[in-house]
Amino acid sequence: MSENILTHAKSLYLYISITLVLVCYAIYLSQAGIEGANGGTPQGYLLGTVAAVLILWLTFLGARKRSFKSSVGSVKGWVSAHVYLGTSLILIASFHSDFQIGINVHTLTYGLLLMVIFSGFYGIYTYLRYPQMLSSLSNGRSRDDNMAVLQDITEGIEAICGQLDSELQITVISAIDRTFIGGTNQDILFGRDHSTMFNNVFEVDEISRADVVPNPDQQRIIEFVAKRMPRGSRSEEPKLLLQLLSLLIRRQQLLRNLRKSSQLKARTKIWLLFHIPLSIALLVALLIHIVSVFFYW
């Protein structure tokens, strides 16, 4: 397996981060006296400075990533360091605050920091997990390839429908026409399927009417056709229905595949929409936190 961001440079930044945390812990423990540990002791200030510098450096990744001619380390190395040093901040910031929680701007800063870090954890998960899932889902085919296959299958279904009775025809075609792919960002992210189809096709004054019912995951139309299988009216019908069923099931698989791919791709991007704004909020809170502590002096 290739080296990923966690195993980069034999996890060098993991060891650096562990060392940093141990050093900070030692500083934390060195606090004594009447007041004990606090952000306001010399050690507390030192730990706070370390944490603030780390936060600034971590947010600088956004700029480094886009300095395409920069030769300061590799971007992959920066990302690896970002992950481990960012994680170490949970402890360093906690040492700085001596685990004190309150309802004030200081705790807000601390809370935002944790939120940024945990949204990052989700990002790491998506980066490590989803590329492989996506790759095996696509199995070497591009989205365009898949869409072309989908089109072929659909045309095959339509061709068979032409030889079936009108109820079957209308129902199956309605399921195809009312197949739902994509949709809003939310639909994609949660893999929602709003597909529908006609049901109970009946004729009134020579005009076909029908109820519209949900057909999530194309399951209902498959069951509809399967149900018709043993009740065929003409001698060729079972054969045609079998072909139709097989195409519908292939289509179902393909749609699942496409929906899942879109969902995974959306998830690999969505976390940044939390991670980045939260980071900016953190920077603002951090600034207020630092300025306000000067008033305690």
Binding site: M1, S2, E3, N4, I5, H8, G62, A63, K65, R66, S67, F68, K69, S70, S71, S74, V75, K76, W78, V79, T126, Y127, Y130, P131, Q132, L134, S135, S136, S138, G140, R141, S142, K265, T268
Partner: protein
């Protein structure tokens, strides 16, 4: 023959070369010292300079090569297509040039004292001399049936929207026929005629489109398969001038005959190569090679006395060259033996030499000393020297300092950009180094050059006057196989690869000579290192070079092997069926490798299937020659045996890792067998952030040269559409201004002299080159991050080029592997997850094993 139809000189083709020739002929006529009806310019199309006319509107035409002066009665400088055409038209008008347009030549015959030129639709003319300047594209292939020249038959279609409500028959099954038929079907009833039962020659997109259109009742287009045209006739009784068709077409549909009235026939049957036409006149070509040029003497006269060939048909594709030749050839014909314009260029080049000789004397000296140069005609020799760089090496520091100062002085006097550099070097400096890329070819005029292997320091050869080196890089596309160092004072000619290729295509003796030396040196380095080259000749001539197309088999399992092979260019994949019945790749060998030697040094039976993964050349050494070599020099055998043992281990290791073998097969299927530097993306790490593309755009003026999403994938490996820097770059084949180069470190790049012709784009089998306008400048990344200005990093989709970019025109853009960046390729260094890697061939195996 009436005198009115006889001319002293007939110039055929009113392109730049023909126009310039006619311009000079008009000048002679105006001087009054030419015979009556002295010349005629004949053109098959309606206007002048048809090729340039067919350029897209407003296209900027370059005036390359810059170092060459224009010598013509017509003016020509870089500018828009319209400016150039109108300047030529007004020149032609002002000298009252004698032009016959719309006159398609159907044949040229020569009898005792004159040429007869036949036309498809006009009376013959005769001429004492003929200048052919018809370009190299050839003429459209005619229908070849009675009625083929009737006015309703046309061979091009400029604008389909011009025609409506007509019945139109399109003949042909290629892409242009399909595209025309589809465009015409919008407003007309169209029938497309295919001689075969399917459209197999067409691109997939066109194939789909035509089949869909044919099956769609709403599109007025239908296909005839297995159908040929029998004849086209005018409808006899058609007297009224109405819009009714006045012709009818007779078809043989395979099921019987059919005929119907038709307004228009568009025949798109490809083109007849100009070569066939020339051969029908009796003009000889240098070789069977399709790219070879007609045999011409230094005055452009062909093997048919009195018939001259100039311009791109003669192998000179640039406008300025053609115009100069037009001027010169007419001067020759009218009896002025002027020096060609290139003469001045030679003078410039020779002035840096330590000789006090005239151009003629130096030329003679060069040709005397170098057997190879003697094989060339003067025209070829002149071109070779002009396109080459001279290199002078001095042993003594004092002389070196003095001469390089003299050269610098002269170079600053002359316009530096317009003259070729003559390199002044110290002896003992490297001429080239082992491992660096380079296809240029060196000929020794004076002195000696030593070739040495880097690893062992062993000297392979010391070459002297008249000998040459660098053929390995030239023929194999591989990096240089040794170091080359000048010994003592010496003078060299360094000829660029493309000049050599052109020369080899047009001169069989030279091609064979270089080829033999390549084989001898291969035998020496691979098998018998201690035998001198001269002594290898006897055995060497018995070896054979074979070309194997991609996918063709070199040998099969169970064949009895009685020869070994040295891969000269391309690559060979070895595979076999393993114990599970699966086909497994067990080895991949690129240029320089020896394969099949196991049969001569172990089991005689072949165990593998050897297939060329790209177009490959191999040198075959038969058993007898091999053992003869080994007997005479046993010093190489040990290494060969050691390599065989290593190969057995490696092949069996591969056998035990079928996944690696399959992935290797995938690489080979993607054409990576001819690559030197390929972008590969590990899909298990790629998060689709597109930073590779963004980085590419940001480091290359806002235009990305790679397409991550496209390309092929297999087993979590993705080969995106990005340049692989091929061993023998297809893109370099046909670049008119010679704008594509390869750096010593291997990067193939396009320089600023690109004229945007698109040849490289069409020649690239991997689709990695495109034509693009310069992208407008964007707000900085910082102001995007802080204030949201612009679109951030990366190429802006469908960006609007500014007026400057529009004036410059579209230029070819491709990956240059970020040769100017210290950090290496930006696509790789910008990848946040390490998914993007660039690999050379010898890294494939370890990469795949790790993967």
């Amino acid at each position: 023959m009436p005198k009115a139809n006889h001319y002293y000189l007939a110039i055929i083709g009113a392109g730049p070369a023909g126009l310039s020739a006619a311009g000079r002929a008009a000048w002679y006529a105006a001087q009054g010292n030419a015979p009556d009806s002295s010349y005629i310019l004949v053109e098959g199309s309606a206007g002048l300079a048809n090729t340039i006319f067919n350029y897209q509107k407003g296209k900027f035409v370059m005036a390359e090569p810059g170092y060459l002066m224009l010598r013509s009665d017509l003016s020509f400088q870089a500018g828009s297509r319209e400016d150039i055409l109108s300047s030529w038209e007004s020149s032609a008008k002002s000298v009252e040039m004698n032009i016959r347009s719309d006159a398609k030549v159907s044949g040229i015959e020569r009898d005792a004292d004159k040429f007869t030129i036949q036309f498809t639709e006009a009376e013959d003319i005769t001429a004492d001399f003929v200048v052919l300047a018809i370009g190299s594209e050839g003429n459209p292939r005619p229908l070849g049936v009675p009625g083929q020249y009737l006015p309703l038959v046309q061979y091009t279609l400029v604008d389909a929207a011009e025609y409506s409500n007509e019945t139109i028959v399109v003949v042909g099954a290629g892409d242009s026929a399909i595209e025309n038929a589809l465009a015409l079907a919008k407003q007309n009833q169209v029938y497309i005629l295919n001689r075969r039962s399917e459209f197999s020659r067409a691109k997939e997109g066109n194939l789909d489109a035509i089949l869909k259109a044919a099956n769609n009742k709403n599109v007025s287009l239908s296909c005839y398969y297995n159908t040929v045209v029998e004849k086209v006739e005018a409808i006899p009784a058609s007297v009224d001038e109405s819009e009714d068709p006045q012709y009818q077409i007779f078809l043989n549909t395979g099921e019987g005959q059919e005929n119907f009235p038709v307004n228009r026939i568009v025949a798109r049957l490809g083109s007849v190569p100009a070569r066939k036409f020339l051969e029908s006149i009796g003009i000889e070509f240098a070789s069977e090679n399709i790219r070879s040029n007609p045999v011409l003497d230094e005055r452009y006269e062909s093997s048919v006395p009195g018939l001259f060939v100039i311009g791109s048909l003669a192998g000179y594709p640039l406008i300025k060259q053609g115009m100069n030749q037009g001027h010169d050839v007419v001067s020759f014909i009218f009896g002025d033996l002027i020096e060609p314009v290139e003469y001045g260029l030679l003078e410039k080049q020779f002035q840096y030499l330590p000789f006090a000789l005239t151009v003629d004397q130096t030329t003679r000296l060069f040709r005397q000393r170098i057997p190879m140069f003697n094989e060339m005609n003067l025209l070829q020799f002149r071109e070779l020297i002009i396109e080459s760089n001279l290199m002078v090496c001095y042993q003594e520091e004092e002389v070196y300092q003095r001469e390089s100062q003299r050269a610098r002085g002269m170079q600053s006097e002359a316009d530096k950009s317009e003259s070729k550099d003559t390199k002044i070097r110290r002896s003992g400096e490297y001429i080239f180094r082992q491992g660096s890329f380079g296809g240029s070819f060196f000929t020794i005029i004076k002195g000696e050059v030593a070739l040495t292997l880097k690893q062992t320091g062993r000297q392979i050869a010391v070459l002297g006057r008249g000998q040459f080196f660098g053929e390995s890089g030239l023929l194999s596309g591989q990096p240089r196989s040794c170091d080359a160092v000048a010994v003592g004072d010496c003078i060299l000619v360094e000829t660029p690869r493309r000049t050599m290729i052109k020369l080899m295509n047009s001169n069989d003796q030279i091609a064979e000579g270089i080829d033999l030396i390549f084989r001898l040196r291969a035998l020496q380095t691979k098998i018998a290192p201690k035998i001198a080259i001269d002594e290898l000749v006897e055995i060497g001539v018995k070896t054979e070079v074979r070309r194997i197309r991609a996918g063709e088999t070199l040998y099969e399992p169970d064949d009895v092997g009685n020869s070994l092979f040295i891969v000269r260019s391309g690559s060979i994949t070895l595979s076999h069926v393993n114990h599970e019945g699966k086909t497994v790749v067990v080895g991949q060998f690129q240029a320089g490798a020896v394969i099949g030697e196991m049969a001569l040094m172990g089991d005689r039976q072949r165990h593998h299937l050897a297939v060329a993964s790209v177009l490959t050349e191999i040198i075959e050494v038969e058993e007898e020659e091999f053992f003869q070599l080994v007997e005479n020099d046993s010093s190489g055998i040990e290494k060969l045996q050691r390599d065989v043992s290593e190969k057995y281990v490696q092949q069996n290791t591969m056998d035990a890792q079928p996944d690696v073998g399959q992935a290797m097969q995938f690489f080979m299927d993607q054409g990576l067998g001819e690559a030197t530097n390929t972008l590969v993306i590990d899909e298990s790490l790629c998060v689709s952030c597109d930073f590779c593309e963004k980085a590419c755009a940001e480091t290359h003026g806002g235009v990305s040269r790679l397409d991550r999403k496209s390309g092929s994938s297999f087993a979590q490996l993705h080969v995106p559409v990005a340049c692989r820097h091929c061993q023998q770059p297809h893109c370099m084949k046909d670049c008119p201004p010679d704008a594509i180069h390869r750096k010593g470190s291997g990067e193939v790049f396009i320089d600023s002299t690109c004229i945007g012709c698109g040849n490289c784009m069409n020649n690239c089998p991997y689709g990695v080159i495109r034509l693009a306008y310069d992208a407008p400048s964007k707000p900085s990344i910082l102001s995007w991050m802080l204030f949201g200005d612009g679109d951030g990093a990366g190429e802006v989709e469908n960006y609007e080029p500014d007026s400057k970019a529009l004036a410059k025109g579209k230029k070819a853009v491709k990956c240059d592997a970020c040769m100017s960046l210290a950090t290496g390729p930006a696509c790789v260094s910008a990848c946040p997850t390490g998914a993007a890697k660039r690999l050379s061939q010898n890294q494939y195996l370890s990469y795949l094993q790790e993967h």
